[in-house]
C-alpha cells in the first residue's frame, strides 16, 4: 500500500515553512514594515526619476478606498467570489461523480 498523501504533506510543509520564515524575519529584521511591494516600487520610481512620490498624479482620475478597513472589505469580497466559484464547482463535480 502506497502513501497517498505526499502532496498534502508537502503543501503543509511549504505553508508552515513560509509562516516560520515570516515570524523569523518579522522578529529579527528591524525596520521591516511589510508594506506592499507596489509601494516600495513606487518609492524606487520616485528615487530614480528624482520626483517626489506625491507628485505622481493619476493619469485617469481614480476612486480610492477611504480607509484600510474598506480596502480589506473589498479584497475579502474578491476572495469570496473566488471561493464561491471553487467550492461551487468542486461540489458540482462531486455530485456528478456520485450520480454516475
Amino acid at each position: 500500500m502506497r502513501f497517498k498523501y505526499t502532496l498534502e504533506v508537502l503543501t503543509v510543509i511549504a505553508i508552515v515553512a513560509f509562516c516560520a520564515v515570516f515570524l523569523y524575519t518579522s522578529s529579527t529584521m528591524s525596520g521591516a514594515k511589510f508594506a506592499g511591494s507596489d509601494n516600495v516600487g513606487s518609492g524606487l520610481i520616485a528615487k530614480l526619476s528624482g520626483t517626489p512620490v506625491e507628485n505622481f498624479q493619476p493619469l485617469i482620475p481614480q476612486w480610492e478606498p477611504p480607509s484600510g478597513e474598506i480596502e480589506s472589505c473589498l479584497f475579502a469580497l474578491q476572495a469570496a467570489v473566488g471561493g464561491i466559484l471553487v467550492g461551487g464547482v468542486f461540489g458540482f463535480w462531486i455530485g456528478q461523480k456520485k450520480k454516475a
Binding site: T25, S37, F90
Partner: protein, 231 residues
C-alpha cells in the same frame, strides 16, 4: 506587481495597452470557441479562474520585509492557455483598479501584460515542453505555476526599468534594482503557490479526469498514471 496609477508615463501606458489588446481579443475569441465546443469546460474555467480571484487578493509577507501577492494563473494557463488566462486576469485587474486603487485604468495595459500575458506565456511554454515527457504532472503544475508567478514580477520590473532607466547604468542597473524589490520578494510566494496549486490539480484529477483528457490538457496515459499514484 501592480504598477500604480500615474507611475507610468503615458507613452508606456499606450505601448502596453497596444500589446495587451490583441491578446485579449484573441482570448475572448478562444473562450467563446472552447465554451461552445464543450459545456463541461465552464466549471473547469470556474475553478481555475476562481483561484486567480482568491490568490491575487492575498497579500503575503515575504523575506524582504515587504508584502506581495501570488497570481494564481498557473492552473488556468495549463487548462486554457495564456490568452484566455489574460481575459480572466483583465477582469480581476479591472476590479482592483476600479475599487481598490491597486493599479489603474491607464496602467491596466501594463499590468495585464505582466500578470495575464508574459507570466502565463512563460508557464505555457514550460507546460508544452513537459507535457509529452515522462515528468510527473504535479511537478509540471508546480513549475508552471511558480514560474508564471515569478515571470509576472520579472515583467513588472522590466516595464518599470524601461520607463525609468537609472542615470548611471541605465536600463540594466534599474532593472536589477526593481528585480530586487519585486522578484526577490516573490520567490517564497511562488514556491508556496506552486505546491498549493499542484495539490488542487490533484483533486481535479481525482474528480474530473475526463474533462482533462477531452480538452487534451494531458494525455490519457499520464492522467491514468497520476490517478494510480494518488489512489
Amino acid at each position: 506587481m501592480h504598477i500604480m496609477e500615474g507611475f507610468l508615463p503615458w507613452q508606456w501606458c499606450l505601448v502596453w495597452w497596444i500589446v495587451a489588446l490583441p491578446c485579449l481579443m484573441l482570448g475572448t475569441y478562444q473562450l467563446k470557441k472552447v465554451l461552445a465546443a464543450d459545456r463541461e469546460a465552464l466549471p473547469l474555467l470556474g475553478v481555475t479562474g476562481g483561484f486567480i480571484f482568491i490568490l491575487s487578493s492575498l497579500k503575503l509577507p515575504s523575506v524582504t520585509g515587504s508584502c506581495s501577492h501570488p497570481t494564481g494563473t498557473g492552473l488556468s494557463t495549463i487548462s486554457f492557455g495564456p490568452w484566455i488566462t489574460a481575459v480572466v486576469c483583465a477582469i480581476v485587474l479591472l476590479f482592483q483598479s476600479l475599487f481598490l486603487a491597486h493599479g489603474g485604468l491607464s496602467v491596466l495595459g501594463a499590468n495585464i501584460v505582466s500578470m495575464g500575458i508574459v507570466g502565463p506565456l512563460v508557464g505555457y511554454m514550460i507546460y508544452r515542453l513537459l507535457r509529452d515527457t515522462s515528468v510527473n504532472i504535479y511537478i509540471t503544475v508546480f513549475l508552471v505555476t511558480a514560474l508564471a508567478d515569478m515571470f509576472t514580477y520579472v515583467t513588472t520590473s522590466l516595464e518599470l526599468a524601461l520607463a525609468y532607466p537609472a542615470e548611471t547604468g541605465g536600463f540594466v542597473s534599474s532593472f536589477i534594482l526593481f528585480m530586487g524589490i519585486f522578484a526577490v520578494t516573490q520567490v517564497p510566494l511562488a514556491i508556496v503557490e506552486g505546491t498549493v496549486l499542484a495539490l488542487v490539480f490533484k483533486y481535479i484529477v481525482a474528480l474530473k479526469p475526463d474533462i482533462l483528457i477531452r480538452l487534451k490538457i494531458f494525455s490519457e496515459v499520464k492522467i491514468n498514471a497520476a490517478r494510480n499514484e494518488i489512489s
